[in-house]
């Protein structure tokens, strides 16, 4: 690794500069300036409709799927704008994995749910696939619960297991960035805790962006935190700062539960 690369390595992974995103006339994100470092866990908090999900969906360009959307400013990963014309969107989405609020079981077995992504990349060797699947399921702390029934249909898993399966599916692609869009909103407290703990184990290897509408979750995870409100980035800082000495009145109101 050359020196400049090493320098870039320590520098930011994701950087938004004056980034705005529009659905038709509606401005969902306004002039966002945000830097996320490599191997950082960033929690984006904010009430519904604040633009959190739009931000995630801009990063892997799932937002493009809706007709009539456009953006302004730049949104870079490793210094390359994700919207520049040379970007291979499918490749971008492999590098930027996403876990959705509602866990999705693709209509196939547990094994195939995880093996699917690597297979699409052209990995056919069954021993190799088995290894990848086991590693991804172990990383997602699901292996012990499903190792004896990998050929079961994935829809038989519980909600919490299914969400960890979704995480395993993303990890199997060895992405650089993992985006989680309110991954625990449909889960019970124990499953929620499992996933929150999992995040801290994964952050050594991935850059993670978590979105939550729940300030309590933001406090529990205790990471770098950004607060979004009505498309505007109000404040960023460590969870400690945001929760104990917020600079902005709106942040204070939100973390103290006055709205949200």
């Amino acid at each position: 690794m050359s020196e400049t690369e090493a320098a870039q390595d320590r520098a930011c992974k994701i950087s938004a500069r004056n980034f705005s995103f529009f659905y038709g006339e509606h401005c969902a994100l306004r002039d966002i300036n945000l830097e996320i470092k490599r191997n950082q866990l960033l929690t984006i908090m904010g009430p519904s409709g604040s633009g959190k999900t739009t931000f995630l969906r801009s990063l892997n360009r799932l937002g493009d799927l809706i007709p009539g959307t456009r953006h302004e400013g730049s949104l870079e990963i490793d210094g390359t704008d994700v919207y520049s014309p040379g970007v291979d969107v499918a490749d971008l989405r492999r590098r930027v994995g996403m876990v959705f609020a509602l866990p999705v079981a693709l209509p196939m077995s547990i094994f195939n749910n995880v093996a699917h992504g690597p297979r699409m990349q052209g990995i056919r060797h069954s021993k190799k696939l088995e290894k990848i699947v086991e590693k991804a399921l172990r990383d997602a702390i699901l292996w012990d619960e499903v190792k004896d029934r990998l050929s079961d249909h994935a829809s038989r898993l519980s909600g919490g297991q299914l969400q960890r399966l979704s995480i395993a599916r993303v990890l199997a692609l060895e992405p650089e960035i993992v985006l989680l869009d309110e991954p625990t909103s449909g889960l019970d407290p124990i499953s929620t805790l499992k996933i929150e703990e999992l995040l801290w184990e994964l952050v050594d290897r991935y850059t993670i962006v978590l979105v939550t509408h729940n300030p309590l979750q933001g406090a529990r995870i205790d990471s770098e935190t950004a607060f979004l409100l009505m498309g505007e980035l109000v404040e960023t800082g460590s969870a400690y700062d945001i929760f104990t000495r917020p600079k902005d009145k709106r942040t204070e109101d939100y973390v103290s539960g006055k709205f949200g």
Partner: protein
């Protein structure tokens, strides 16, 4: 209030039962009219006989059974891939505006009377086949092409609805894994829609095997077993429609017996398709 409820319930039940009663009457009638001749000739001789010559008292309908089978299979071979491709394009790829216009056009296709399809086949397709491909033009091929186009609206609209019913979360989940549009369709949308696609094929098959007018006009209607797609052919439905006007006595009974065979074939196909559709569901 309660009386009104009961009244409506009885009314609806009566209407529903009378629909079923009509079906039962039709079945009883064709069996009553057709079974004596089958009993006299023997079932095996009737359905495996290769000579149909009413004036000489020969009633073998194997050519017509095979005719219906070839023509229907041919129609499916043409209509299913085309219909499926159209539905995939409309539901998954076309911009919403274009999709709406194309869907409307295909629904118009369903409104064209079958005699018009037959007429176009007669004046364009039959001469084309005669001149460029060979044979007399009136053929299995001509009938299959005309029927293939006629079943398109059924297959497209059923498949379209089935694709639209596949949860958006499957597509997003796949795309987020770095799948291309086509990989998403191939690996998630089509498998999830499989039983619906089979239902579309059954409906198309039902339409193809039952269609009479358009087939009579382009198939040539010869009562011999076709050995090539370019030879003329007569289907079971054509057999009944062509001769019903002047048939009397045993000949008339034999036409009803043709109806029995048609009825049984359709019932078997439907049952088979249902079994397939059920076993495909995970």
């Amino acid at each position: 209030m309660h009386n009104k409820e009961t009244l409506i319930q009885w009314l609806l039940a009566t209407v529903a039962l009378s629909a079923i009663a009509v079906l039962a009457l039709i079945i009883i009638f064709i069996f009553k009219e057709g079974s004596p001749v089958i009993a006299r000739l023997g079932l095996a001789k009737f359905i495996t006989g290769t000579k149909w010559s009413p004036t000489r008292g020969m009633f073998g309908i194997l050519p017509m059974i095979l005719g219906s089978v070839w023509v229907t299979l041919g129609a499916l071979l043409i209509g299913v891939p085309m219909g499926l491709a159209t539905a995939i394009f409309l539901a998954e790829m076309a911009p919403p505006g274009a999709s709406r216009i194309l869907k409307f056009a295909i629904q118009l296709l369903a409104g064209i009377p079958s005699v018009v399809f037959g007429f176009i086949g007669l004046v364009i397709l039959v001469p084309f086949i005669r001149q460029w491909i060979g044979g007399p033009g009136f053929s299995v091929l001509a009938a299959a092409i005309v029927l293939g186009i006629m079943i398109l609206p059924t297959i497209v609209s059923v498949c379209y609805d089935v694709f639209k019913a596949v949860p958006e979360a499957y597509r997003e989940g796949m795309l987020a894994l770095g799948a291309t549009r086509w990989q998403t369709i191939k690996m998630v949308v089509l498998p999830a829609a499989k039983s619906g696609i089979i239902a579309a094929v059954i409906l198309g098959m039902g339409r193809a095997i039952g269609e009479t007018m358009a087939v009579i006009m382009v198939a040539g209607n010869a009562t011999k077993i076709p050995v090539s797609p370019l030879e003329p052919v007569r289907t079971l439905t054509s057999n009944i429609a062509l001769e019903m006007g002047y048939a009397i006595g045993e000949h008339r009974e034999a036409l009803f017996a043709t109806g029995i065979v048609l009825f049984i074939i359709i019932a078997l196909l439907n049952t088979l398709a249902r079994i397939v559709a059920r076993s495909e569901k995970v």
